[in-house]
Symmetry: C2
Subunit: 185 residues, 2 copies
């Protein structure tokens, strides 16, 4: 950040009065620019023992498989964001969805929230950001071609919880991984 | 937003190519400004059947009682944010904390996350943003002097769940309430 979005003057980085960390501040109009983590919301869409995965049409991790998910937008709930992303990327509708997995990714300032729900109807198709959308059984999951660590962890947990048919909400942290440098996990 | 934070030129509001909602964009350097919901993280700190509440020293809702909570910062996990806010506002440490209540507040672009945990040691005190910090039994809770709807809902749910000693993670939506216009719930 170089310029004040409010008045257009150059900003400087300093700790504002009464605060305890550096922010970009405008000495001219006193605007303070706060930067906060973003939420990535998505769905684990199931049909009996099958899971819906999307092959990414966009970078990062083009061609790798993912659960439909993306940045939550202003004016929506986390659940609405997850359902919207599922429609945009997999052209799928979801029913009976419940919050399931949360991940903190502090190294990239993200919090992931996955909802678990059943595919409504039989229809799905590749949206603009997907090359292909498919249902996978556990044996068919392309474990070495998953886009991000959050995806593999969510799928593994699901197949464990599926045994007991008990799906408590779980939260865990994923920290910086050297092999993923430069890639948004 | 009036000016591009990157190059300082005026921005315009339009739907970027490949997007589906208006953003502030810079025609000069092609910067796109995304705005996303923020996470408010906090703690429901308990000591047996007592709950720790803070009387706010700052607006909005100065003098009203709240659970310690505030905006999650970059570089931290939701849990770290909740514990930090509890230290800053109530000078309290928390042990054995678990994710408990999540609220979507789409009208103000916030997602609240409260962790439930026990007061570690006996110490607590008013931090800079609090006038007073106190332990309350259910009978003592100042229900008509709570700062925000999220606080009352979390406390009510806690006292219900306390009966069964079962505290599942719960998520609910709080929508715009006319009586709170101009106040951050």
């Amino acid at each position: 950040m170089n310029f004040c979005p409010q008045c257009g003057q150059p900003v400087i980085e300093r700790i504002p009065q009464g605060d305890n960390r550096p922010r970009y501040v405008c000495e001219q109009c006193h605007y303070i620019h706060y930067q906060n983590p973003r939420i990535v919301a998505g769905c684990l869409v199931t049909q009996e023992r099958y899971i819906l995965l999307c092959r990414r049409a966009i970078e990062p991790r083009r061609n790798f498989w993912t659960l439909p998910a993306g940045y939550m937008e202003n004016g929506e709930t986390t659940e609405q964001a997850a359902l919207r992303e599922t429609w945009e990327e997999a052209r799928a509708r979801v029913q009976a969805q419940h919050l399931y997995m949360l991940f903190n990714l502090p190294h990239i300032n993200q919090v992931y929230m996955f909802f678990r729900g059943q595919l409504a109807g039989q229809e799905f198709a590749a949206g603009d950001e997907s090359l292909e959308v498919r249902l996978f059984s556990e044996a068919e999951i392309p474990w070495d071609q998953l886009a991000f660590p959050t995806i593999g962890k969510t799928l593994k947990q699901y197949f464990i919880d599926y045994q007991s048919n008990d799906f408590p909400v779980r939260m865990s942290d994923i920290n910086w991984q050297p092999r993923l440098r430069g890639v948004t996990p």
